[in-house]
């Protein structure tokens, strides 16, 4: 079988949403209208000066952007290189997720939608969605895997306090994949009034591109801040954790076409890549279709989607966004992974040496730093995608075990 036209500009997928062979919109006809409306209007709406003004005003005054770029002195010394932390954990609601939900709620408003649905894994995207719905007075329903509801109780409480309805996804592995299925089904059943705010760079075109563009504010700021601090806009490395890949897409975006910048994506290895309990999609997956796009997917030989494992709910996903699949396949990105144990260890270590308690997802990005053989003059930006408050129960268990 021949393939579709290769798109070589990583920032712009083809008209049908392809990055190389990955992407597209593999959706049932019942979703055609909604997805087509988004596809024909998203760029126009996003590029409208009034939209941009409103988006950036909210990012500044509500989210608290720009987030700092912090030189991590003790960490740099320990690793033997220059490490800067992009502090997305300081965003309102505690993670980068709100950059996208602010953008999409403004877009939904312009499309005349009155109800918002979302899926969530760790609950960060659910909280960010519930937050913007409260801000704009829209009804909000969040689908969350039953297993994730148990392990991320504080975020469930936050969503409820913000007025959202949290619906448990009880099928399959009862995690992010299943929550996404339920959200897509809910959208099929109520297509006209509802906008679906996908939280990652996954889903049918135009979601991967749209979410990447909303999150690209991260790398836009990194360039400016790095110029101020080092005299150059370009780091040697950008490191980010990847589940679906939204914080990585945002942190990579304005460096995608800068060949000298090494883009390092860290997947969740769970108990170990070959343990059978892992979520390291590029290591374990094959090309496949899930949630409306062609990408790399963890699956059986018969093409049934495999239930992944990661200690972090936000990385517990058997797929990866099509942009990342293309970065992997084209070797533009460096893909590596960290285990549950390494992530936990680094959550504590970062807390102790920099005074920053990271989310479990984020801790994966730090766990690979000692293995990277950085040079002393390298400039490494780590996307500190979220803070660890939501993971305190897990961290407390670890401390209890150490006693």
């Amino acid at each position: 079988m021949h393939s579709f036209n290769k798109s070589i500009n990583y920032q712009d997928p083809s008209a049908e949403g392809y990055y190389g062979d990955f992407g597209g919109a593999y959706i049932p006809e019942m979703l055609y209208g909604n997805v087509e409306t988004l596809k024909t209007q998203y760029l126009q709406i996003m590029q409208d000066p009034e939209f941009q003004r409103e988006f950036h005003a909210l990012l500044k005054d509500y989210v608290g952007r720009p987030t700092p770029l912090f030189y991590a002195e003790r960490l740099s010394k320990e690793i033997g290189t220059q490490i800067y932390l992009k502090r997305e954990d300081l965003c309102h609601t505690g993670a980068h997720k709100i950059n996208n939900t602010i953008g999409q709620i403004l877009l939904a408003h312009r499309l005349g939608k009155t109800k918002i649905i979302a899926e969530t894994g760790a609950g960060q995207h659910g909280v960010a969605t519930a937050t913007v719905c409260a801000l704009k007075g829209l009804e909000c329903v969040v689908y969350m895997g039953e297993k994730d509801i148990e392990r991320q109780a504080p975020n469930v409480a936050r969503m409820k306090m913000l007025g959202a309805k949290v619906v448990p996804a009880t099928s399959g592995s009862k995690t992010l994949k299943d929550a996404t299925n339920e959200a897509i089904r809910a959208w099929i059943n109520e297509p006209n009034e509802t906008h679906y705010i996908i939280g990652s760079v996954v889903g049918p075109h135009p979601y991967p591109d749209m979410v990447a563009r909303f999150q690209s504010v991260i790398s836009d700021e990194i360039r400016k801040q790095l110029k101020e601090k080092t005299g150059s806009e370009l780091p040697t490395h950008v490191v980010a954790c990847v589940g679906g890949g939204s914080n990585a897409a945002g942190a990579f975006y304005h460096f995608l076409n800068e060949e000298t910048v090494d883009l390092v994506a860290v997947e969740a290895a769970g108990h170990g890549v070959n343990s059978g309990m892992s979520a390291a999609t590029t290591q374990l997956g094959k090309p496949g279709i899930l949630h409306g796009s062609k990408s790399i997917l963890m699956q059986t030989e018969d093409g049934q989607v495999v239930e992944p494992h990661s200690i972090s709910a936000g990385l517990d996903y058997p797929g990866i966004g099509p942009l990342h699949a293309f970065l992997y396949e084209s070797k533009r990105g460096t893909f590596t992974s960290a285990t549950d144990e390494e992530a936990l260890q680094w959550a504590f270590h970062l807390s102790e040496i920099e005074g920053i308690i990271p989310a479990l997802e984020t801790a994966h990005a730090f766990a690979i730093l000692p293995k990277m053989n950085f040079k002393p003059n390298d400039v490494v930006v780590v996307c500190l995608s979220g803070r660890g408050d939501k993971d305190l129960a897990t961290y407390m268990q670890v401390m209890d075990m150490k006693k």
Partner: protein, 256 residues
């Protein structure tokens, strides 16, 4: 002429297509279910290939798929079961499924094998028009399989005509934008089907989603060539103890 075209040439009213999940309720009940459907008056069999993440389906069909997967059903096993189906099954058989398992099997190999065992057509709800036109449609046609697109009340007329042009066998009209197994407001459905009738489409139209009994079957048959029943039959199979008795009772009630 394909089996589907022949069927609609002979019968253009009250055509009943019944959906069943391959490998449900037992791994090896697939052929028995098909034979029973044929014996009790079904005109077409739509055989669902189970998938872990069936986005267009509701709870009932998804859980039957989970049972089938737990029973060990795979595309390979299904083709082994279907290898002898044309000894007993004379009515058209279409396979319904999602793209990912087919891609892993190999799209071309899948089409060849489907044709070889006597399958007549394919319904793949997550194969989009663009990818059909640019990549997969050619393989489907080269292997002599019909391809049935879905249309919904929200499908714009221009697109509807295109989907009709590209479809062969029949066109699958989704009664309203919803997943399978949901109850519908049939006054709205009637208006939609009347509109479809007025468009004088190339293909016969079968209506699916929400058709569950005699009342709903009769209602949509007034304005279409027939209907597809899925979730209601799967429900009956889940509750029944004997496939033949359950199927006989279910179809008797619908067709009475």
């Amino acid at each position: 002429m394909s089996r589907l075209s022949e069927l609609f040439k002979k019968q253009n009213q009250r055509v009943l297509n019944v959906y069943c999940t391959a490998g449900f309720p037992q791994l090896n009940s697939t052929l028995q279910v098909m034979e029973s459907l044929q014996a009790n008056g079904a005109n077409i069999i739509e055989l669902g290939m189970p998938y872990s993440d069936p986005l267009a389906d509701g709870e009932v069909i998804q859980s039957s798929g989970n049972v089938a997967l737990a029973n060990g059903m795979t595309i390979e096993t299904l083709f082994e079961q279907l290898a002898i189906m044309r000894n007993t099954i004379h009515i058209p058989v279409v396979l319904m499924g999602y793209m990912n398992p087919i891609l892993q099997y190999g799209f071309e190999a899948f089409c060849k094998k489907a044709k070889a065992v006597g399958v007549d057509g394919l319904i793949l709800p997550d194969l989009p028009l663009f990818e059909f036109e640019h990549l997969y449609g050619k393989t489907i046609k080269e292997n002599g399989l019909d391809f049935i697109f879905l249309v919904t009340p929200e499908t714009p007329e221009e697109r509807l005509r295109k989907l009709d042009t590209l479809s062969t066998g029949f066109l699958y009209a989704v009664s309203s934008s919803a997943t399978t197994g949901k109850d519908k407001d049939f006054s709205k459905v009637a208006l939609y089907l009347q509109k479809l009738q007025s468009l004088k489409l190339k293909n016969p139209v079968l209506v699916g989603f929400g058709i569950k009994d005699k009342e709903t079957f009769d209602a949509v048959c007034t304005y279409s060539n027939g209907a597809i029943i899925g979730s209601a039959y799967i429900n009956a199979l889940s509750k029944g103890t004997d496939v033949n008795d359950t199927t006989a009772q279910f179809l008797k009630a619908v067709l009475s």
